[in-house]
């Protein structure tokens, strides 16, 4: 018999939304948003026309010669851009979830490991100094990705210790090296004489999907999908790791090993996404939190919903970034911050306990 009086609940039990209906809803919204993304834009192409071009593109049909310019805008410029936004958003959200569990810190995001700052060095070397000119249109992505890998190797080598990769060492190493990388970038920006190049560099640092092409999509999509699939398979191990290294070890998940794998996967996905879209902030920090508030902390559920939510957020953020000041474009990172910050603070104030403890 329990003598204690029934405890008064300080707060109601966490409210959880079922994953299946939520995922279906987000999936439908995402599909509609992709259509919106392809249909809306500064060029003033009508809806029915845009849909007709999409249909023609999908089925390999033909369009009349006088529509060729409009078709190119919808099929060659808008559609890859919207799809790349979805891929990048999904990737950033999934990686955000994983990095937060890996370093057991709710304030972590995909960039805390210093990988995006490393990528920025490579990207700006191309934008500002004209490095790798021989690679043509691929120079930016290749340079960003290679320098992301170099940054990753450096962070890994420095953060390693006899006890493996501990959360604190990872965060401190990543943050410290990020400052170093940013210093290099800043020197390059200051040193650059050309105004337009500086603007491009700024755009890249804040993230932009403006350079999206069909050619970038397959590799980015495959990397994000493979990374996501791996994370989803490891969802239970992420749960164990989130409870602590000792608990994780006692449950048969060697923390140093899983953290090493996580580091490689998250770095590869982050590097790929950053290479094609720049350092788009806030998605990888906010989406994991919002999703945890909706479906709880269990990574088996969070990792299903978060990529959909991230894709949805980034598609709309990008759409707003090119519509608000059309024909000029804002960096998409500005929109994710402007939309995200108030939404985030509001949810946090209402979220209570679900929010990273007390």
């Amino acid at each position: 018999m329990r003598r204690t009086a029934p405890t008064v609940r300080r707060r109601t039990a966490p409210r959880r939304i079922s994953v299946l209906p939520l995922s279906l809803l987000l999936g439908v919204l995402l599909a509609l948003s992709l259509l919106c993304g392809a249909g809306l834009g500064a060029a003033g192409i009508g809806w029915s026309e845009a849909l007709r071009f999409l249909w023609a593109g999908l089925t390999g049909g033909t369009v009349p010669a006088h529509d060729a310019a409009a078709y190119t805008i919808v099929w060659e410029i808008r559609l890859p851009r919207v799809l790349l936004g979805a891929v990048a958003g999904a990737g950033l959200a999934a990686v955000g979830v994983a990095v937060q569990a890996m370093v057991r810190n709710a304030l972590a995001d995909p960039f805390v490991l210093g990988i995006s700052s490393g990528a920025a060095v490579g990207a700006n070397a191309v934008i500002l100094l004209g490095a790798l000119a021989g690679l043509g249109v691929w120079a930016l992505s290749v340079s960003a990705f290679v320098s992301a890998l170099a940054a990753m190797a450096l962070v890994y080598a420095v953060a390693r210790s006899p006890r493996g990769l501990t959360p604190l060492r990872l965060i401190l190493t990543g943050t410290a090296l990020a400052y170093g990388f940013e210093a290099v970038t800043t020197v390059m920006v200051f040193g650059a004489a050309r105004g337009e190049a500086t603007r491009s560099a700024m755009m890249w640092l804040l993230g932009s999907l403006g350079g999206a092409t069909w050619a970038q999509l397959p590799l980015a999509a495959v990397t994000v999908a493979a990374g996501w699939a791996w994370l989803r398979l490891r969802a239970e191990a992420l749960n164990a790791l989130a409870m602590g290294d000792e608990t994780s070890a006692a449950l048969g998940v060697a923390p140093s090993r899983i953290r090493r794998e996580l580091f490689l996967v998250t770095a590869a996905v982050t590097g790929t996404v950053v290479a094609v879209s720049g350092a788009i902030g806030f998605v990888g920090l906010m989406v994991p939190h919002v999703v945890r508030m909706l479906v709880g902390a269990d990574h088996r559920r969070v990792l299903v919903v978060a990529p959909l939510a991230g894709a949805l957020l980034l598609v709309w953020a990008d759409l707003l970034s090119r519509l608000l000041l059309a024909p000029a474009e804002l960096p998409v990172g500005v929109i994710t911050a402007v939309v995200g910050v108030p939404a985030f603070l509001l949810l946090m104030r209402r979220g209570g306990d679900a929010f990273g403890g007390r």
């Binding site: 003598r3 409870m243 709880g296 679900a354 990273g356 403890g357």
Partner: protein
Amino acid sequence: MRLDIDRVTIEAAGIRLVEDVRLAVDSGAFVGLVGPNGSGKSTLLRSVYRALRPAGGAVRLDGDDVHTMDPRAAARVLAALPQESSAEFDFTVAEVVAMGRLPHRNRTAASDRAVCARAMERTGVAHLADRGFLSLSGGEKQRVLIARALAQQPRVLVLDEPTNHLDIAHQLDVLRLVRGSGLSVLAALHDLNLAAAHCDVLHVIDRGRIVASGPPHDVLRPDLLADVFGVRAHRVRHPVTGAVQLLFDLHPPTTT
């Protein structure tokens, strides 16, 4: 299942924390590990549930070395309640308990649910299933963690100071639950009287070495307690159970 700690030595940063420790937990026995702060209790236990790899010696489950076994295979027979609690992610009680199923293969969602439900029934936390783990009291948390360990369906249970920060009723409650599980248990305990009342065998560890082993009434002698803990102890009998219990003086033992 029998647990053998066989001449285990543990080092960290060149310092020897545990030296040549040998102890055994017979099948179904409740074995206690007592010692002052920093004596190596937690370190030794961490090598048992594979959070640390010993520099020398071996930890064996029915003869198999836990450090060469597949980690998940080891976790299927040995569960632990480590002394840590993360406050970063608010899992529900049901989710925390479900983590105990992680090492198992050939499981279905339905079988997992049944095992977890039974574990929560046994520890009396079924009514908390949908509560956030972080919102629980210390006693509730400990019962949930025991439920997680039971959901692991292990045969050996390792506990690192499971009664820390609990009031006396919850301390007794936790030890009763563990005792009632029928598992082979190795527990580090701070409270010597609780250890005396609940353990079949006690090992006293001091500066990384086992200095006494045996049934509580043989081990908890005033001279040993003076040596190891620096307190003056008086032995009395529990009026009901007859177990040896200790009363302590604040005076250092040298001032007799």
